[in-house]
Structure formats: structure tokens, C-alpha cells
């Protein structure tokens, strides 16, 4: 699916223009119907799936938030929210002007960006533990936590993302500013991970965020 391709919502037939060079999914903001795009073409043969409503979790980022990463401006166009047992992760899908995308991940005021695509993890799954060294091709990380994903909500235009049903496990590993996010569902499709870096939120120069006067 190329840049600025138009798609038709499988639920309400609304027309949408895709902005990512490689879109994985699109969730209609009007009816929450999912269009699975998979980077090739809109797959109209799939049964209509309606995404769960996005919970309000007090994040100050929103669809339409803009920012700057490594000198390049970006805009947030989608969101996947993972509800973990004792945490949450907002994967904000951001697009640069030329159509490349990345994930800006936020949890309790802590930010990281994941630029690349999902990569297969080929070492032993038993190494995906907290306080364990997890070997990766460009250097190991130390496991920080293993959490079960209990809920998942999607919104807007998203980069490719394989598992959209809850019940899988996430593993977070870090070393210094480097961080890796692993996604694993027992007996299903192997383990994949994203590699990224932690970023102080001030460095992202976020704008058009949600004003927050409620508690002040």
C-alpha cells in the first residue's frame, strides 16, 4: 500500500487516506472497524472486526500530536494501548513527512522510540527473564520485566503489528538508553522484538498535546 492511498472503511464505508509508506492496519475513527492492510492491499475478505474502545488513561499524547525526532518532524496518527497486569504501554504510531513511521512508546511519563521493524528473536525463550542477560545481535540487554498483556485497544493508522488479541506476554529489556520490547505468545508464531532507545520527553518537543487542567 503506497503513500496517500485511499481506503474504504469496511464498517461504515468512510474514505480514509493512508499516510504511512507501510501501513499494517487502520481503525476507523468513526465506527472503530479495522481495515487490515498488511502493506500490500486492503484485505476485504477478512471478517469485520471492531476494535475495543480506547480507555482513557490520562496520557497527554493524542492523535494529531506533533514532535521532532533526530531533527525530523513527525505526527502521531495511530495508537495501540497495551494493558499489562501492573503497567500499560501506549504505542503511538508516528509518521514522518516522507511516510516512514516509528513507534513512540509511553508509560507513566517515560518515553522510548522504536524505529525499525519487528525482528525475530532466535535465542532461547528461557533467557527472556527479569535480571537476565538477553543476547541480541547488536549487543545484549538486561531483562526488566515479564508481563502478561490483558487488554489491547487500537486506533487510527498503524504500522504492522502481528498479535491484536490479549493473552500474550511482553518482555522489556534495556541496557543504558538501548531498549528492546519482546512480544511472545506461547506456541504461536515465535518471538519478535523491536529495538529502540529511551528518550527524555523534552527531547521530543511534543506539541498539540492534551491540555490538562483537571487536577491543577
Amino acid at each position: 500500500m503506497s503513500l496517500h492511498t485511499r481506503i474504504t472503511c469496511p464498517g461504515c464505508q468512510a474514505q480514509h487516506t493512508l499516510r504511512l509508506r507501510l501501513t499494517g492496519r487502520f481503525i476507523c475513527p468513526y465506527c472503530r472497524a479495522q481495515a487490515v492492510v498488511d502493506g500490500i492491499a486492503q484485505d476485504a475478505s477478512r471478517p469485520l472486526i471492531t476494535a475495543a474502545p480506547m480507555p482513557d488513561d490520562l496520557s497527554f499524547v493524542q492523535i494529531g500530536t506533533t514532535g521532532v525526532l533526530d531533527g525530523a518532524p513527525f505526527e502521531v496518527i495511530g495508537r495501540i494501548r497495551l494493558q499489562l497486569r501492573n503497567d500499560y504501554k501506549n504505542f503511538w504510531c508516528a509518521v514522518r513527512k516522507e511516510g516512514s513511521g516509528f513507534w513512540m512508546v509511553e508509560s507513566f511519563g517515560s518515553f522510548a522510540v522504536y524505529n525499525g521493524a519487528w525482528q525475530p528473536y532466535t535465542d532461547l525463550a528461557s533467557k527472556l527473564r527479569s535480571n537476565q542477560t538477553i543476547p541480541l545481535p547488536d549487543g545484549p540487554v538486561t531483562g526488566q520485566y515479564v508481563e502478561r498483556c490483558e487488554g489491547l485497544a487500537l486506533l487510527g493508522e498503524l504500522l504492522p503489528w502481528s498479535i491484536v488479541e490479549p493473552g500474550w506476554f511482553v518482555v522489556q529489556g534495556s541496557k543504558g538508553a538501548r531498549t528492546a520490547f519482546f512480544m511472545t505468545k506461547p506456541n504461536v508464531g515465535g518471538i519478535h522484538y523491536l529495538l529502540g532507545k529511551k528518550v527524555p520527553v523534552e527531547n521530543l518537543k511534543l506539541a498539540n498535546t492534551l491540555p490538562w487542567n483537571e487536577w491543577n
Partner: protein, 421 residues
């Protein structure tokens, strides 16, 4: 983007509860019946605690306060009880939308703010601790705990997490690092001591409502807050300055020999004393030093001295004793040489006015001593002044270091890892 998940029913009493933390809240207590329950599906158990729900925390739920330019709100409070020694402390969960969550912990009236950090702070290790950013953090305690009381909302299952994690705390007052680890998670937090009255100001709570501080908090900086190393460095600099000043004074002193003579017992045949020849002091108040050398050998010499100002008749009296003994002790089949005393003595008199002086000497000899010699020097810099100055300079640092060490020992009294034991 508001969802519909902000209202939940208590599973025990069915009271409708509005979640302040919205989707962030993962566990809470019922405002009506006090039961603790989770919002997720993984654990449907309800918890009741040892401490009754009527307990009122010092910082009320919903209290707001500004910390570091950000408004934090108190979301929940727990009382945790350590498993081994059974002591308790209170932890308040506070939240700011932009900064995330943090904790305020209170034990014995001492407060710490604790916040999660993204990465492992251990830059380099040493036995019982690590260095972070050049600072030495030493293991203070390891413990496991349980929640004995909870009230409010929590962004994680505080009961399960407390029960399943092991904790380590490393201190460098006023800062510390805490590691909370289990098979599934590892979380580093950084903490900093906060004064009790600062907590009262931040959350607009009357100071008397906060627990009184008892003893020295384990992360409380020592009051006065001189660092011992800076104190020692300052002392060394001052001592060096004293030596420099002494050197300058010495260089400018005349240090002139004005009298020198050997006396023998024959000089005292018909009299009990002998007088030196007169000598003159002029050019303003100045010191003299009288050096006495007596060749005593397992014997003694004693003398009274009177320095007489011939112009005014004023006398300066002093005595000196010279004795020197030595020999061998025989013990355990071996012999050990010993000696005590010496063959010289000196007297120093400062700020003598101009005039003509002589010294009257009233000696008493031991059995073998046959003579002695006297040398008098004028405008002599006093080495004792340097000694007294150094002692004076060292008094405060020495007392402070002893006091600080004693306080540090007290700080570690509750630790199983005290470096003082």
C-alpha cells in the same frame, strides 16, 4: 478520548466507585467497606487488612502538592510491614500526568521521595554496594514485606507486588537507590530525603499532623552537612598556611645569640647562684630563648632561673629539670635497652620590653654532674605558637569528625550491613 471504564462496582458491597486514575488504576480500596480489589481479571480475590480501614493517613487521598514544578496528587497509601523484624512504614503513591508516579515513604517521621528510574544505576560495583555518577552507594538493607493496610487507588497490584518482590536499598544520604525484584520484574527507584516541614508545606498539611521525627533517618543528611573530606582538606590548607606564616616570621627574626657560657660546680663554691653577664634588648618587645645543656648520665640536674630586668627590677622566674637515665632490662632470657629523659632543656619568654637583663641561676646538681652550659638567643620565633595554632585549628574538625562518625554509626544501627560492626 474518554472511555466508559471510569466507574466500577465494589465486589463486596456493590458501591459504585469512580476511578480517579481512570484506566491507569489497577487496584483500589472501596470507599465504603475498605475492601481491596483489582480492576483486572487475573485475580478476583478481595483483601482485608490487619489495620482497620478507619486508620487516617497523614496525607489524605486527593491531597495535591507541587514537587519540582509539577503538581502531584496523592492516589493511595499503604502500610508495609517488614517480615523479619516486623517494623512498619507508610508509602504514599503520588501521580503527575507528565511525570508518572512516585512514592513518598515515611518511617519514624522521616520522609523520602522515591521515583522509578529507567536503567540500572550500577556503574561499577564494590563489595556491598556500587558507584553511580561517582557517588558511593552502600547496601543498607534487604527485606521482604507485606501490605498491612491500603487505601486509595494503585496503578499496579500493590498487595501482590509487595508480597512477591525482594527489596534492596543502597544509601548515600540524602540519596538512595532501591531495587525491587522478583522472577518477573526488576525495578530500580531513586530516592531522596525530604524534610518533614517541606512535606507539610508541599501538601498544605499542618506540621503537627505529620508523625514526629525520631532519631536520625537512614537517608537523612547529617545536620551541618560539612563533608569530612572538605573539612580535612580545609584543615590541611590552614596548617600549610600556618607553616608559611611561621616561615615568614622566622625569616624576619634576628634569632641572635647574645650569651653563651659553660658553668662548672666550681663556679658555685661560695654562693648558691651565679648571674650571667648583662645583655641588652632593644627595638621593641621581643622574645628570648634560654637553652640549657647538662651532660647528665643516669643523673639529674635542677635549677631555678630568674630573668631580671635591670632597668625596672622586674623578675621572670622559672625552673628547669634535666635528667637522663638509661640501661638494660633483662626479661625472658633477653636484654632490652631503655632510656628516658635527655640532656637539654629550653625556656622561651615572649614579648620582653626593651632593657638590660641578666639571668640568675640557682642550680642543684646530682651526684655526678659537674657543670652545664647556657646559651641565650633573642628574637627567636616560637615553634610552640605553630603547635598551638595547629591544635586550635584541629579542635573543631576533630570534634566534628568524632560527632559525625558517631551519628553515622547510629544511622546504621538498624542495618544488617553496618560498616561499623
Amino acid at each position: 478520548m474518554s472511555g466508559t471504564n471510569n466507574i466500577i462496582s465494589c465486589p463486596a458491597c456493590n458501591t459504585s466507585l469512580t476511578l480517579r486514575g481512570k484506566a491507569l488504576t489497577r487496584a483500589l480500596t472501596c470507599k465504603n467497606c475498605g475492601v481491596y480489589f483489582r480492576t483486572g481479571s487475573w485475580n478476583k480475590e478481595q483483601e482485608k487488612f490487619q489495620i482497620p480501614y478507619t486508620f487516617e493517613p497523614a496525607l489524605p487521598i486527593g491531597a495535591k502538592g507541587e514537587i519540582g514544578g509539577f503538581i502531584y496528587e496523592v492516589m493511595g497509601v499503604v502500610i508495609k510491614k517488614e517480615r523479619k523484624y516486623k517494623y512498619s512504614w507508610r508509602e504514599y503513591l503520588i501521580f503527575n500526568r507528565h511525570r508518572g508516579y512516585a512514592f513518598l515513604s515515611e518511617y519514624d517521621g522521616h520522609w523520602n521521595m522515591v521515583w522509578p528510574v529507567d536503567s540500572d544505576p550500577r556503574a561499577s560495583l564494590f563489595p556491598g554496594g556500587f558507584y553511580e555518577d561517582g557517588q558511593r552507594f552502600q547496601l543498607y538493607q534487604k527485606y521482604s514485606a507485606d501490605v498491612a493496610y491500603a487505601r486509595g487507588e494503585f496503578f499496579f497490584d500493590v498487595v501482590d507486588m509487595t508480597a512477591s518482590t525482594r527489596n534492596e536499598e543502597y544509601i548515600n544520604p540524602p540519596h538512595f537507590f532501591a531495587l525491587e525484584s522478583s522472577d518477573d520484574s526488576m525495578l530500580w527507584c531513586k530516592g531522596e530525603y525530604i524534610q518533614r516541614n517541606a512535606i507539610a508545606d508541599i501538601f498544605s498539611v499542618p506540621l503537627e499532623k505529620l508523625p514526629r521525627s525520631v532519631g536520625l533517618g537512614y537517608t537523612q543528611p547529617a545536620s551541618g552537612s560539612f563533608s569530612i573530606s572538605s573539612l580535612v582538606i580545609s584543615l590541611i590548607v590552614l596548617i600549610l598556611a600556618t607553616f608559611v606564616i611561621q616561615y615568614i616570621i622566622s625569616a624576619r627574626s634576628a634569632d641572635e645569640n647574645i650569651f653563651h657560657r659553660d658553668f662548672t660546680s666550681a663556679d658555685f663554691k661560695d654562693q648558691k647562684f651565679v648571674a650571667t653577664t648583662p645583655f641588652h634588648l632593644n627595638g621593641g618587645p621581643q622574645s628570648i630563648q634560654i637553652n640549657i645543656h647538662v651532660p647528665v648520665d643516669n643523673d639529674w640536674f635542677f635549677s631555678e632561673f630568674a630573668l631580671v630586668n635591670e632597668t625596672t627590677g622586674e623578675e621572670y622566674n622559672f625552673t628547669k629539670e634535666v635528667e637522663y637515665y638509661h640501661g638494660y632490662d633483662y626479661e625472658d632470657g633477653g636484654s632490652y635497652y631503655w632510656s628516658e629523659g635527655g640532656t637539654t632543656a629550653e625556656a622561651y619568654i615572649s614579648r620582653l620590653p626593651d632593657g638590660t637583663y641578666h639571668v640568675n641561676i640557682y642550680p642543684a646538681f646530682g651526684t655526678t654532674v659537674t657543670g652545664f652550659d647556657i646559651a641565650i638567643w633573642r628574637d627567636v620565633p616560637s615553634r610552640l605558637n605553630v603547635l598551638w595554632t595547629i591544635i586550635g585549628l584541629a579542635i573543631f574538625p576533630v570534634i566534628y569528625i568524632i560527632w559525625a562518625k558517631s551519628r553515622e554509626k547510629g544511622r546504621w544501627a538498624d542495618s544488617d550491613y553496618s560498616p561499623y560492626e
